[in-house]
Symmetry: C2
Subunit: 198 residues, 2 copies
Amino acid sequence: MAKRGPYEKGEAKRREILEVALEIFAQEGYRGTSLRKVAARCNLSLPGLMHYFESKEDLLTQVLRVRDETARGRHPELTGPDSYRAIVREGTKTPGLVELFVSMSAAASDPGHPAHRHFAERYPAIRGEIVDYLRRRMDEGAIRSDIPPERLAVVLVAVADGVQLQWLTERSMDMEQPVNDMMALLAPPAQNPGDTAH
Amino acid sequence: MAKRGPYEKGEAKRREILEVALEIFAQEGYRGTSLRKVAARCNLSLPGLMHYFESKEDLLTQVLRVRDETARGRHPELTGPDSYRAIVREGTKTPGLVELFVSMSAAASDPGHPAHRHFAERYPAIRGEIVDYLRRRMDEGAIRSDIPPERLAVVLVAVADGVQLQWLTERSMDMEQPVNDMMALLAPPAQNPGDTAH
DNA sequence: GTCTATACGACGATAGAC
DNA sequence: GTCTATCGTCGTATAGAC
């Protein structure tokens, strides 16, 4: 609102760059793709491209952010395992972006890396959503409640991420099955005779 | 045995390089550590170091292999979750090597990358060991058997890897808890009245 | 604010002398 | 087996046109 005039075009260009970068990484993979190549596809010189970003790491982090938002925004109605399956199904088609995600996870070790903040905020947010889902299903009695939902959320996120690591080298791997198995493990154990059974 | 003479010194030097590299990556992290720095600590020039390896990627892959072997070799008597806990406890002290592992996982996407073969062989091997463990515990009745051990192994490896990803940005995270929770989830459900109960 | 041109230092890789 | 020298490319930094 407050920003008008010159900002308008710049912001549009910035988004264009991010989308082009996203596309290139998806097609040709993140490794071996230089910023000069990205700049060329935007009809820009390298410094021209860097005018919009503080560093390469900054650009990559924003690419990751855009990827996250669009992936989730495409299926806002899905929740719980359904949401996971939809996201995984798209990840299968863009291995380069999965590679980017994993690479950034490693780079984000450094607290000074811009992606550090990104992951530090995203993980709690994602786990929070999962906790909400789990609590709801626990109240319904559809999920065992002997382990607190906060701890289960850590496990579920780990399964989702870890499966991607295996899938990167074993493309034949079914990324949905492990999460399905997890949900099966979360089914409540057989009730004791005098519990809530009729 | 068969290799004598010139090979002897070369092999020793090669191992020395790998150990020095392992040490540097553990201390200063894998990123921002150039091969020239590794070479310097070996009293070698860069080409002198590269005489022993085909490429940087090749060297890194071998570092990863050495790390794997020594980590497992240090606790050969442990099995199942105990083995995992021991390995995790060492990983906590060397974040640089965890970072290296995750980075290599991403790079190994490319079938032409030397680490691709490494992971392609290691994952089935690790899962195989887990399957053996699970089968043993299933026979004892200590673990539920409604999901085949091969599928559970995928889930368990995913949890182990995925927890590391979260831990890289959230160092306060307890890496053992999720695996403990997984083991709790694997406990057999309460038996039906007419099962094997006396 | 937007962008090009140019240069810089460091990287991994390689050729060839010793 | 190890070196010096050099190459091409990377991300980055600065000067200045528009």
